[in-house]
Subunit: 345 residues, 2 copies
DNA sequence: CTGAAAGCGCTTACAG
DNA sequence: CTGAAAGCGCTTACAG
């Protein structure tokens, strides 16, 4: 790289101190600097193509204007959609975002936090993997500004932005019941992630409310690695029950994609033979033949809130916001047996 | 944040100079430092929970171990898949990545480059929007290490990793012709992006080779903003031609998702009534009823190569690599009229 | 084997 | 209105 021009170079060129150059270029002490000299400095800076060195500035000010975003996997559309929203919101406040994928792995997660803190990020937005409450507690102990996104730990007093997960699946299950479903399955992840447990609980409570006996074999747990074969098997098992399931709720978009791909190869028709509801609404789901009823998370709101809360926290360490946003049940054909959708093909 | 511990604190605690601490913690001059004192320093550093300040280190060494990744839109699965690969490859070499989305907008793109350079990234991986050759040339003029990914400018001598785009659509079109298609449409973006022009040209050359007269109305151009209605219209127009098209090639995964969603609502059947091939293979496409023939880009290879070339360039500014990777035509049901797939439903 | 010192490029009290 | 100077937390020739 060609030798970069520094404040000192400009100062020498104009014949003033670096301090003055710094003041002028940062628009400080405006009224109190001679106009001509200020203009001269700006002109020279422009002509020399001056580019402030943020690293030096950060070292001095102890602010990097960088936030670290830790997601499960940036290539998962759910994560990347949030990333985009965080990016836009952070940029508005002149923040840049660095990202990392934890792969649901506690060690990788630790490493990311470590790296990001070494890089002096001003704060973190985190979708933590399961069983990382200790690490999160350490962030608190060290007074590191952060907010949890999408996931949380009930035992920890930290800011978070999550979905009303219980309500989401409660509403979904109730909707299925109202549409005549009686044996409703769920495919969920086998994990300690609390928000996924909440999704299960909402579903169970809806059954109970409706006087439907809970049936343990209606819930299938798959590894969070999203293995297509395993998810296909889970579907098949639900259909192979003595009394087969007449509806399935998918606890995530990736479960849905894999399950529906499997269902595509089956002779059965959605929703005629099987009603279906999925968490999340991603473009990946749009090509299924039956328009899918889904639980829409307000991603825009979630990403923006998380970012804003983080930036607030950076300014004022005493901020604590725990926000649960509302899901929206978007009702389409896939959940309504009464619809004739399954027949028309 | 609790007062951070610095080299100086450790030095004071142990009773040595900061220089020595720095040497020990960086494992420099290993054989030449008394073992006991080295161990003591390491122990104290650990017990004080020392965390090296990368910012200070960067200021001194002029290396941030950060790369900037500029994509069109991180929420586009194509971009986020590449981002994930770049992330992994960069992490291997202890690099962190900051990202930004240009939205195909030249001004946003400028701003991102500016921000990233101010932050002293060691280099950039860039999918440039149309008409940004000037900006790219400036990077060269300023000796900034970078590599273009997915897109390039033939008039500029810069490192890049792209697909053999011409070959990709040439092969695809030929395959359709061999399977009996005679009037083959293409939906592409109206843009100056050269790689998309290459995709068009490959398609046209395949027609010519096969003795099929090029028909201007077979190519529809849509805005790169991916408006679903506009893309649906493009499909309809191709079907409404006096001599309707019997196959369509989609020039990107997002065109495909939108077009297929539209096709889903039509009475026609793929491939019986219309054969179809798409660029890119994303999970978004898996739920279409007919398994899709697609042009698979070797994303893993592309992301890794781009990252490696960048890191090479950072070390040695004289590196210049222009790589065109091979597409793979993954043949499935959607492109084969002879297949009975379209009939079985 | 170890330390004193300069310096990376900024900001910012402080002094005048 | 302007400047000299200290200092952010490191690294690294240089000297001994």
């Amino acid at each position: 790289m060609a030798k970069r021009v520094s404040l000192k170079d400009i100062a020498k060129e104009v014949g003033v101190s670096t301090a003055l150059v710094s003041y002028v270029l940062n628009n400080l002490k405006e009224g109190r600097i001679r106009k001509e000299i200020a203009q001269k400095i700006k002109d020279v800076a422009a002509s020399m193509n001056y580019r402030p060195n943020q690293i030096a500035k950060s070292l001095k000010t102890n602010r990097t204007y960088t936030v670290g975003l830790i997601v499960a996997d940036i290539s998962n559309p759910f994560s990347s959609s949030l990333a985009r929203i965080v990016e836009d919101e952070a940029n508005k406040m002149n923040y840049t975002v660095i990202f990392g994928s934890s792969d649901e792995n506690s060690e990788k997660f630790d490493k990311l936090i470590d790296t990001f803190l070494n890089r002096q990020v001003d704060g973190l937005i985190i979708s933590p993997p399961a069983n990382t409450a200790i690490q999160i507690q350490q962030l608190i102990d060290h007074d590191i500004p952060f907010v949890l996104l999408d996931r949380y730990f009930p035992e920890i007093t930290a800011s978070y932005v999550i979905l009303q997960n219980h309500k989401a699946s409660y509403t979904a299950a109730l909707h299925l019941i109202e549409n005549g479903c009686r044996s409703i399955g769920m495919i969920n992840y086998s994990t300690d992630l609390v928000h996924l447990h909440d999704r299960k609980q909402g579903y169970l409570d809806a059954l109970k409310t409706s006087g439907i006996d809970e049936n343990r074999s209606w819930i299938k747990y798959v590894d969070i690695a999203n293995d297509p074969a395993e998810i296909g098997n889970a579907v098949q098992e639900l259909l192979d029950l003595p009394e087969p399931v007449d509806a399935i709720i998918f606890a995530s978009n990736l479960i849905a994609v894999n399950a529906l791909q499997y269902i595509n190869r089956l002779p059965l028709k959605v929703p005629r033979d099987l009603a279906v509801i999925t968490f999340d609404e991603t473009s990946a789901l749009n090509l299924f033949y039956a328009p899918l009823t889904c639980i829409r998370q307000p991603l825009e709101e979630m990403g923006q809130l998380a970012t804003r809360i983080l930036l607030e926290t950076i300014k004022d360490k005493t901020v604590l916001s725990q926000i649960e946003v509302s899901p929206e049940l978007v009702i389409r054909a896939s959940s309504q047996k009464s619809s004739d959708y399954g027949l028309e093909r």
